[in-house]
Symmetry: C2
Subunit: 190 residues, 2 copies
C-alpha cells in the first residue's frame, strides 16, 4: 500500500535495526484518514471470505481494526491486556510476551463474543515475531471459531512472524513489508 | 443520541447501581457502524470550533475518537497508560485513578504531538467522576494547548464528573446521559 509506505518513509523513525517508531500516525497519534484507507484495503483483500468478526488487541490495533470492521460490516473485538471490573464473563486467555514493552502479559477475550460459527479476521498494527498473533490464534481456537487470515499494517519481514504463521497454514496480508531498518532508513520488500 | 440509547437499553448490562457494562458494543466488542454515527454526532456538535486535535485515552476511547477525527479531519492522540520502548520522547504525564480497574496509573502524551496553537477536543467512552478527563486536561494544559470541550459517549450523570468539568468552565457534550442504574434498568436524563 503505497500511501502507507510514503507515510512510513516521511514520518517513521528508525530507533534501531529492530525498532521502527510510528507514533506520529499509528501507535500514539493516529491519522484517521490513513486508517480509513487501511481499513478499505484490508476489506478489499478479504472481501467474499465470509468474515463475521474481526479480532485485534489493545491499544494500537483498534483503529485499523475498527475501520476494517466498518468496511466489512462486522463487529470488532479487542483482546484486553488488563483486567477490568466489567469484564466478569468467562474468559478465553493466552500469554503473550511483548518485545517493545518487555513484559509477559495475559490477553483475554470474553466467551460471549466468539462462537464456533465465527469466521475471524485478525488485525494488528505490527507483525514481528508473531507472539501477539499467536496469542490471538490460541484464543480464537479455544472458542472453536475459524481463522480466515491476518491483516497486518506493518510487517517486519526480517523477523520470523510471517514464516511461522504461514507454517500454520494461515494467510497473512501485510500492507507494508519492511525488509530492513538500516542507517536510519526503512527498506521495504520489493 | 437515540440510536445509542437504544443500544444501551438492548445490550447494556447493569452490574450494580454504579456499573454499566457495555462490552457488547463499546468496551470489548465494538460496533463500527455505531462508532461512525457517534463520530458524526461529535463532529456535528463541535463543528466550526476550530478543533485541530482530538485527545483520548487507551483503550476504549480510541474507536469513538478516531471516528470523530475522521469526520472533523484532524489527528487523534491517545494517552498511554503503559510504558512502551518506542515512547522515548519527553512526556507530559498525569496520575489517574481508575474505579473500574481499581488502580492508580500514570497516563502520558508525547510533547511532539501537542503545541500551544492546538485547539483540543477530548473524547472518552465514559464520564463518571471525571478522573480520567481531569488527567487529560492536566496534560493538555502542560502543553499550553486550548481545550474546546469534551465529547463523552456515556455519562453517568449521578456522579460528579460533569459538574466538576463545568465548574472549570468546560463544555461537556454527552451522547447518552444515565440518570440512574436501578433494578437492572438504565434510566436516562430526560
Amino acid at each position: 500500500m503505497e500511501q502507507l509506505k510514503e507515510k512510513i518513509r516521511s514520518e517513521g523513525i528508525v530507533l534501531s535495526d529492530k525498532v521502527l517508531k510510528v507514533d506520529a500516525f499509528l501507535n500514539h497519534q493516529i491519522d484517521p484518514q490513513l486508517m480509513q484507507q487501511i481499513g478499505r484495503e484490508f476489506a478489499r483483500r478479504y472481501q467474499g471470505q465470509g468474515i463475521t468478526k474481526i479480532v485485534t488487541i489493545e491499544a494500537s490495533g483498534i483503529a485499523p481494526a475498527v475501520m476494517a470492521g466498518l468496511e466489512l460490516g462486522v463487529p470488532v473485538i479487542f483482546a484486553r491486556k488488563h483486567q477490568s471490573l466489567t469484564l466478569t464473563d468467562h474468559l478465553l486467555t493466552a500469554s503473550v510476551y511483548s518485545f517493545t514493552k518487555q513484559v509477559e502479559s495475559t490477553i483475554a477475550i470474553s466467551t460471549n463474543h466468539l462462537s464456533p460459527s465465527d469466521r475471524v479476521l485478525i488485525i494488528d498494527d505490527f507483525l514481528a515475531n508473531g507472539k501477539a498473533a499467536k496469542g490471538l490464534i490460541t484464543i480464537i481456537e479455544q472458542a472453536g471459531a475459524s481463522i480466515v487470515g491476518l491483516g497486518i499494517v506493518i510487517e517486519k519481514s526480517f523477523q520470523a512472524g510471517r514464516q511461522e504463521l504461514e507454517a500454520l497454514g494461515l494467510r497473512v496480508e501485510s500492507l507494508a513489508r519492511v525488509q530492513a531498518l538500516q542507517d536510519g532508513q526503512v527498506h521495504f520488500v520489493d
